[in-house]
């Protein structure tokens, strides 16, 4: 369990985090959302013991961050957004180096290799790897100490959909292994795909923390999409239906909307509840398109 209680952090005159509190369950995949500069990376750096807090308390798996930073670092790992390894070294040299400085066990080394499918790439220079392979090496390094918590700071930036899906699948596997994952990403679909719980922060403050299920079912499920056809235009051209558009309405306004469409000779092709969309919710709550 990670308990973050009323933490604040300022850099010069800028308040990066303001009285933020969060509770993260052990073994969950926790999504951390916020626009650029919201305080996500600062929060991850604090949880990793890289940045000190000005006030508040943090307890991670029973360890007090202020007093037991070294113990916390031993059980956690950060996968930075940047490729934090050495391009001039081979995959093996990189893994050996990071394993040696952490006294990693051989089985953890092998597991990190296997989970990230790096066995055949061991003698390749890191600089010659593809974007996806580099990301996998970046993640493998983070697994060498067999962490209980892994912090992912936008690990799929710049990747093609296939590589992105591979990484998301591997993160799902960490959950099966009982690892707690804290995940930040600009891609809401990724958060929807892998996270159990989500927190949205803005200007260093917590806007909401809830399970993904609650957020998507209770807060935005009343949006209904109606697919309409401009029947008159289609008929006059003697064509089969090709052109259609979508309009949105809410559940309470559905009846009135249908009547309005009928009066104007606009045919309804189908009515469906809007697909669960975290992005819309995020934009509503933060008032921004810059996630």
């Amino acid at each position: 369990m990670i308990q973050i209680s009323n933490i604040s952090k300022s850099f010069s005159n800028t308040k990066a985090l303001n009285n933020l509190s969060l509770n993260i369950k052990e073994g969950s995949v926790f999504g951390l959302l916020g626009v650029n500069g919201a305080g996500k990376t600062t929060l991850l750096s604090i949880l990793n013991g890289l940045v000190d807090i000005d006030s508040g308390d943090i307890k991670i798996f029973g360890y007090d961050l202020k007093k037991q930073k070294k113990d916390i670092k031993k059980i956690s790992s950060i996968i930075p957004q940047h490729l934090a390894f050495y391009e001039k070294l081979t995959v093996k040299e990189n893994l050996d180096f990071f394993a040696d400085i952490q006294n990693a066990k051989k089985e953890d080394y092998e597991k990190a290799l296997q989970v990230n499918s790096l066995e055949k790439l061991l003698n390749q220079k890191a600089s010659s790897l593809s974007g996806g392979q580099k990301r996998r090496l970046n993640i493998a390094i983070g697994l060498l100490n067999n962490p209980k918590i892994i912090y992912f700071d936008e690990p799929t930036v710049g990747l093609d959909p296939k590589s992105r899906n591979e990484i998301l699948d591997s993160i799902k596997n960490y959950k099966k292994l009982g690892i707690t994952v804290i995940y930040t990403s600009h891609y809401m679909t990724e958060i929807e795909k892998i996270c159990d719980e989500v927190a949205i922060i803005d200007h260093g403050e917590l806007l909401i923390q809830d399970t993904l299920f609650n957020l998507l079912s209770n807060k935005i499920s009343d949006i209904i999409t109606i697919e309409i056809v401009y029947q008159e235009i289609v008929d006059s051209l003697g064509l089969s239906v090709k052109n259609s558009s979508f309009i949105e309405t809410k559940e309470g306004e559905l009846f009135n909307t249908i009547n309005l469409l009928k009066k104007n000779n606009i045919s309804i092709k189908q009515i469906k509840y809007a697909s669960t969309n975290l992005e819309k919710y995020f934009l509503d709550i933060t008032g921004s398109s810059d996630a």
Partner: protein, 378 residues
């Protein structure tokens, strides 16, 4: 942990071809070029002048002057005016009229001190010819006086006994070049060090290492040790160039008169200083381009002030005082003391101590800056 960090640093430097060029090849080439190029400037060998002489007097005295010039190893008598640095015209009646002067036409490229040396050397022959002539004349009237006059040898070797003071001996071109470019080359670790450091910081590798319980102190120590070793290899190679390679180009070989312990002491202290400055620049710069530019300029300035580019003893006194603030000057003084004054470790301790303290202070400041930068996520 430390061995893994040191191994990593070595691998990174050894795979950086540009760094290897800057650290080993560049100073070796500089030593070779500068030793050979400055050979004559630093030389204490015989001075040689080319002279074209025209005798319009055609007397015993004027003929003796010409024959003395011919025999003098400092002069080369040439038959064409264009080949000569000096044209000496002996006027008619020079022997009879003591007010007559020899006319000298001097090549414009010659410096005033060279002209003075030439005049001093020629005067010796003019006086000798006059004495010989006087001795011949006096032979009939006063054979004793004539004998005394004939026995006078007015060469400088007979007038002065020159002894070099060991404590103020001048270096030859190799003795000046080798320590200069050793010192300069050692400070060039700024290039690989800053490139690796800035990349590690920018890509959050340092933060990652810190999150793996690697303290900033360990990071600094593990980075310093490989460069300490690299610096010592540089010193060995550069000394080798001075001792074995430079003589192949008809230039004096490097002579090491001091103790090897003294060389080790000054080169280790110099290395600590170079590592300190390099780390300070590396952690302060925001990009590797910035670090290498600032580092390069800083190196050249320290070198110019410290007597690497221009020997300190030819600087004006005010500049010599300024040069005392350059760590390169402390290192250079140490090496010159060893090469020229047979200094042992205790004699260069003051220079070594200054370098060591300077390096350690720079390292402490850079660790504080790095701590702040990691804490701010920069």
């Amino acid at each position: 942990m430390l061995s893994a960090m040191i191994k990593k640093e070595f691998l990174l430097v050894l795979r950086d071809k540009h760094a290897l060029l800057a650290l080993f090849v560049m100073p070796a080439i500089f030593i070779l070029i500068m030793s050979v190029a400055m050979r004559d400037q630093f030389s204490t060998n015989t001075i040689e002048f080319t002279v074209y002489a025209q005798d319009s007097d055609k007397t015993q005295i004027s003929k003796k002057i010409i024959s003395d010039i011919k025999e003098d190893k400092n002069f080369t008598l040439v038959s064409h005016k264009t080949e000569a640095q000096f044209l000496a015209y002996i006027p008619k009646n020079y022997s009879k009229d003591t007010n007559k002067k020899i006319e000298l036409v001097v090549n414009k490229s010659l410096k005033s001190d060279q002209i003075e040396i030439f005049k001093s050397m020629l005067s010796k022959h003019l006086l000798s010819a006059r004495f010989t002539s006087m001795a011949e004349t006096l032979k009939k009237y006063s054979p004793e006086t004539s004998k005394i006059l004939s026995s006078i040898n007015i060469s400088n070797e007979n007038l002065y006994k020159v002894k070099y003071n060991d404590l103020k001996s001048m270096p030859n071109s190799t003795q000046q070049s080798v320590p200069s470019w050793i010192v300069f080359g050692m400070f060039f670790i700024i290039i690989p060090m800053s490139t690796i450091y800035v990349n590690e910081r920018k890509q959050n590798t340092l933060a990652r290492l810190n999150s793996m319980n690697v303290s900033i102190l360990w990071m600094s120590i593990s980075k310093s040790i490989p460069y300490l070793v690299i610096n010592q290899i540089q010193v060995a190679i550069m000394l080798g160039v001075g001792i074995f390679l430079v003589p192949m180009f008809n230039t004096s070989a490097l002579e090491i008169n001091g103790s090897l312990g003294a060389i080790a002491t000054i080169s280790l202290a110099l290395s600590v200083s170079a590592i300190g400055v390099s780390t300070l620049i590396a952690v302060s710069a925001s990009s590797s381009e910035q670090a290498t530019t600032i580092g390069g300029i800083f190196n050249i300035l320290l070198g110019a002030i410290g007597g690497v580019m221009v020997p300190k003893y030819i600087m004006p006194e005010s500049m010599q005082r300024i040069s005392e603030f350059s760590p390169m000057s402390w290192g250079l003084d140490g090496f010159l003391d060893i090469f020229l004054k047979s200094a042992n470790a205790s004699m260069i301790l003051e220079d070594a101590l200054k370098l060591f303290v300077f390096g350690i202070i720079s390292l402490i400041i850079s660790m504080i800056i790095l701590r702040i930068r990691i804490n701010k996520g920069l």
